[in-house]
């Protein structure tokens, strides 16, 4: 859907994007993760033709993006990090304006606007946009971005300024729209990515440090560790005595390394010796840990 190759951008003598490559597959929810100031917004603005790239190509559905009035924008919906609308219009008037700019007929715009307002939970809002809360503006932002049924929806940190309830609402909406469009969203909140994304890329120092589907990325770092938490200290001692590679890693928690066979052996040992356990689980590296590892400074 979106592919970026060899993208460079510098502001003054500061090089922000240094040869960025990544591909957003169709119908994915693509999490674009990076610390503040990593160049996420810069990248997105270049995709939208709002900023001029120094080098590199950006293809949206096979069409090349150019700076200025780019035609590729017809297929893109954009939700800026802090969306601002004309406060003197009502939501319906604003969407009508957007529809006309997209070249939709008034009738199409009207039905589409009602449908979207319903979806983002603003259908009952008859007042002018003046006085809308951050969350409401964010939801209206999604509605305006989707008015022309874009093939690609780009959201710049859609959840970072919201409270947990508002964040959940936005994430649910993004999850829903996946059926009709591809979503690219930037964030620094890893739990959001874990909640809805199918693909993820970590941006660090102007390049992609890690890219892949969520499952790929997760297993990448998992090195076959598993944890056993016993109910009493005696169990812990017995485990350590029997398995030489067992390490006590917490109160009544033992970490073991090995493949599935090893894990089965441990479980057989536990049941054979009547050792009561709280849980046996595979250690999965969380995205959080992964992110910290990828972005840490050497």
């Amino acid at each position: 859907m979106l592919s970026i190759e060899g993208l460079y951008k510098r502001f003054g003598d500061k090089e922000v994007i240094k040869g960025l490559n990544f591909h957003v597959p169709k119908n994915s929810i693509y999490g674009f993760v990076g610390t503040n100031g990593a160049g996420k917004t810069t990248t997105m603005k270049m995709v939208l033709g709002l900023l001029e790239a120094d080098a590199g190509t950006i293809l949206v559905d096979g069409e090349r993006v150019t700076y200025g009035n780019t035609d590729t924008n017809r297929g893109i919906g954009y939700l800026p990090d802090v969306p601002e609308f004309y406060s003197f219009l009502t939501t319906r008037e604003y969407l009508a304006l957007c529809g006309r700019i997209c070249g939709l007929s008034d009738k199409t715009t009207k039905t589409r606007a009602e449908e979207l307002l319903e979806r983002v939970g603003l259908a009952g809002e008859k007042h002018r946009i003046k006085g809308f809360s951050r969350g409401m503006k964010q939801r209206l932002g999604i509605a305006q971005a989707l008015i022309n049924r874009p093939k690609l929806l780009i959201c710049d940190e859609p959840t970072s300024a919201l409270d947990p309830v508002g964040r959940k609402e936005i994430l649910d909406i993004l999850k829903e729209v996946r059926e009709e469009t591809t979503v690219l969203f930037s964030t620094h909140i890893l739990s959001d990515v874990e909640r809805i994304c199918t693909d993820v890329a970590f941006l660090k120092d102007g390049v992609i440090a890690l890219e892949g589907t969520i499952d790929q990325v997760r297993t990448l770092k998992s090195n076959g560790e598993f944890l056993v938490e016993t109910l009493n200290p005696a169990g812990t001692e017995a485990l350590c005595a029997h398995f030489p590679n067992a390490k006590v890693s917490g109160e009544q928690v033992v970490t073991l390394t090995g493949n599935d066979d090893e894990m089965l052996k441990v479980m057989a040992f536990l049941s054979g010796n009547n050792i009561p356990v709280l849980k046996v689980e595979r250690a999965e590296t969380s995205l959080e840990d992964l992110f910290m590892e990828v972005t840490k400074h050497e």
């Binding site: 709002l50 017809r74 003197f88 219009l89 304006l97 700019i101």
Partner: protein, 266 residues
């Protein structure tokens, strides 16, 4: 008519109507227009009062007769007020959108930057024209009611009204041009004041003054005594700066359109 451009202009008018700026501006134009015949009407009263004092000091002079000319002289003198109010009230229609980032969703939907430029420029011209018409209309109505303007004077009134209208379009063109160039309204204002200041400075050299737009900024000249016999000459005198101003306006709009395409508006 371009559908998107029309939509855009309608959005601009919705803004100025709902914010109350449009109606306030027209009321101000009405009020200032009203001041012209009022001042003319009150002049005899004030002069007579002055005379009482003068007499005490031993000075005697004939009170001037008040005619339509007095009212039109006031019109020419106060013509700057509606224009100044206009620039201050409507001058930020570009810069306030840059600052508020409200154009970003529009541009990313495919709204052309030149459409933004022309929509706003047309809105500025329409609003100013309406205000100027109110200012002129009120003065005309009352002047006709009280004194009546003879044909010869009326011809000059039309000439000076048209002349200053072109000058005001020059101001609007400057406003648009600098609004494309700068992000902040303060920058726009400083640039405009600088240009008008330069116009004034160069206006002090008679040779250059004859071609500068500033020449047509004082329409009252056309009413001055002594111009009766030199009327045709006077019009010839203003023809060159008139054409120069017209050319400058066109050039400013063309430059604005070219620069706007490269401008970052988000």
């Amino acid at each position: 008519m371009n559908n998107v451009l029309f939509t855009w202009i309608r959005k601009e008018f919705t803004d100025s109507w709902r914010n109350g700026r449009l109606i306030i501006f027209l009321i101000v134009c009405f009020g200032v227009g009203l001041m012209n015949p009022i001042t003319a009407k009150l002049t005899p009263m004030l002069i007579e009062m002055m005379q009482d004092q003068m007499k005490d000091m031993g000075i005697v002079y004939d009170p001037p007769t008040i005619t339509a000319l007095t009212s039109w002289e006031q019109f020419a003198k106060n013509i700057w007020i509606p224009l100044l109010v206009f620039v201050l009230m409507f001058g930020n229609i570009f810069t306030k959108e840059y600052g508020a980032h409200t154009l970003t969703p529009m541009v990313t939907k495919g709204l052309k930057k030149t459409t933004i430029l022309w929509g706003k420029a047309i809105q500025l011209i329409l609003v100013w024209t309406a205000g100027y018409a109110v200012y002129f209309g009120v003065t005309l109505m009352y002047t006709e009611y009280y004194w009546g303007t003879e044909d010869e004077l009326m011809r000059r009134v039309w000439d000076m009204t048209a002349m200053f209208y072109l000058y005001s379009l020059f101001i609007v063109a400057l406003l648009v041009f600098f609004s494309v160039l700068w992000k902040e309204f303060s920058g726009v204002l400083v640039s405009m004041v600088t240009v008008l200041g330069l116009d004034l400075v160069f206006g002090m050299f008679p040779k250059v003054a004859k071609v500068l737009p500033g020449r047509i900024s004082s329409p009252g000249l056309l009413l001055q005594k002594g111009y009766e016999d030199r009327y045709e000459y006077a019009m010839g005198d203003f023809a060159v700066p008139f054409v120069v101003t017209l050319v400058v306006i066109v050039v400013l709009f063309v430059l604005s359109t070219i620069l706007m395409k490269r401008k970052s508006v988000d």
